[in-house]
């Protein structure tokens, strides 16, 4: 397993209070959690937004019905500025944590998701070497 850190930053055209609620209200997080092709049933969401509280949520692959549960725990909560949660190893991903920072840009919100955790070495080496130009060319050929 390899330790890895990663920041994903995005600016949303909404005030910070609204973005905070979208993250912390179970009805709302079920609306957006999970990538395209996945949905999150409202009844799978369990949010206890305080340090030590549970954060459980299950994505479902819409085509196949395959379920991807996450069992996490909040480690820090500072409304409406910062939200941190952590998890034990699951689904081939090692133990890790995400710290979500909500930056008020006056009507807009900059969200920074700082990931820190362990990932499978195979995936790590594949991700690093995936930037190899020839490899990209090969993939472009294969996926065209």
């Amino acid at each position: 397993m390899t330790f890895r850190e990663l920041d994903i930053v995005r600016v949303f055209e909404a005030p910070v209070e609204l973005v905070w609620r979208a993250w912390t209200d179970p009805d709302q997080i079920a609306e957006w959690w999970g990538p395209a092709g996945m949905h999150t049933p409202r009844e799978s969401v369990e949010l206890d937004v305080r340090p030590g509280g549970v954060f459980r949520i299950t994505m479902v692959q819409t085509d196949t019905g395959a379920e991807f549960p996450s069992d996490m725990r909040f480690t820090a909560v500072d409304e409406p500025r910062m939200l941190a949660f952590a998890w034990e190893g699951q689904r081939g991903i090692g133990a890790g944590s995400s710290t979500i920072t909500f930056k008020d840009l006056g009507g807009k919100t900059e969200l920074t998701n700082h990931y820190a955790g362990y990932i499978n070495d195979m995936i790590q080496s594949f991700m690093v070497q995936g930037t190899n130009q020839q490899f990209d060319k090969l993939f472009a050929y294969l996926t065209k």
């Binding site: 994903i8 995005r10 949303f12 055209e13 909404a14 609204l18 973005v19 979208a22 709302q28 609306e31 957006w32 959690w33 999970g34 990538p35 395209a36 081939g92 969200l111 998701n113 499978n120 195979m122 995936i123 080496s125 594949f126 991700m127 070497q129 995936g130 190899n132 020839q134 490899f135 060319k137 090969l138 993939f139 050929y141 294969l142 996926t143």
Partner: protein
């Protein structure tokens, strides 16, 4: 696809010589001799790499004893690639949905 098989695929892809071999096979089938030509390696060494690729399902080999041309099995590679893409794009894709959700809230559309 089973995670174990994905691990085998990632392991096979982690070696630069094996990726070069796959790149060559993307241009068309080739024999072991043809594949070995660009490398300062013995045929047994190349054969070893081919075995790893074959076990990962990334290539298949013809059954004619003499030539046994190697063929790229693009589907295995594509599945591995898709898996990694999903892993990396989890947040970007979720955030697209969050963005749309927030826009709906901002418009105050019914149902929100």
């Amino acid at each position: 696809m089973a995670t174990d098989q994905l691990s085998v695929i990632f392991g096979a892809l982690a070696d630069p010589t094996r990726r070069d071999i796959l790149a060559r096979l993307a241009e068309g089938d080739a024999t072991v001799n043809e594949l070995a030509a660009p490398f300062a390696m013995t045929l047994p060494a190349i054969s070893k790499h081919l075995k790893v690729l074959e076990r990962a399902g990334l290539i298949s080999r013809g059954r004619e004893a003499q030539w046994r041309p190697c063929k790229l099995e693009a589907d295995s590679l594509r599945q591995a690639s898709e898996w990694v893409d999903r892993y990396r794009q989890f947040w970007e894709s979720s955030y697209d949905k969050l963005d749309a959700h927030l826009k709906r809230l901002m418009k105050g559309s019914p149902g929100d």
